[in-house]
Amino acid sequence: MFTLESLLETFQTGSGFWNPIIWVVAILVAFLIAVILRGFGNKEYKKNTGQTQAFLSGNPEYEKEQMHIKSSNIYWGFTESLKWVFDSLKKMHTGNVSDYALWFVIVMAILFVVLIVGENLVGAI
């Protein structure tokens, strides 16, 4: 059942394969290349000099709080352009227990219609 070979076996998905070990090796190689590239520039980097300061076209640095990008600002364009979708989705979540129970009844009604009425219709055709 459990052997050392079984650890290294390739995982067949039916129409392809997936072997995480090979992937990890590839990632490690890529990482190594990245480290080497970093090493080229690292020599010129000096701590506690002007190099480490933020440079905003000569303007003074903002407060830390202002510099931090808030989570609601990320993907702002995406959410703004699809506002109608998100607004209707937000409207669905009323936070009202009766509505939650109502959704249950609606789903029940739909399933009744699909599974019983619809089935008889399909059978008739």
Partner: protein
């Protein structure tokens, strides 16, 4: 009426129709179709459990685990209520 009310009434009445229809489709009142399991219990309850009350023998012997679950539920409810009404600061 708001849109919510209309949807609610509509789906509620569909469910109601199926429930009432189901109540008419079930076997006639007082004449269950199959009684094999229960007849087995009624016949054997006295010899197997020694109790004259067949319901008690079902509750505590044939379906004892359900009873354990039931006492557990009562225990859970008491623990939950004591926990909900506990004092919050030490």
């Amino acid at each position: 009426m708001s849109r919510r009310d209309i949807t609610a009434v509509l789906s509620f009445s569909i469910v109601a129709i199926f429930f009432i229809f189901g109540a008419l489709m079930i076997h006639p009142f007082g004449a269950p179709d199959e009684t094999g399991m229960d007849d087995n219990i009624i016949t054997n309850a006295q010899t197997e459990t020694g109790a004259n009350n067949a319901v008690t023998s079902v509750v505590f012997d044939y379906r004892g685990l359900d009873t354990l679950g039931e006492t557990t539920i009562l225990f859970t409810a008491v623990a939950a209520i004591i926990m909900i009404f506990r004092r919050l600061n030490k």
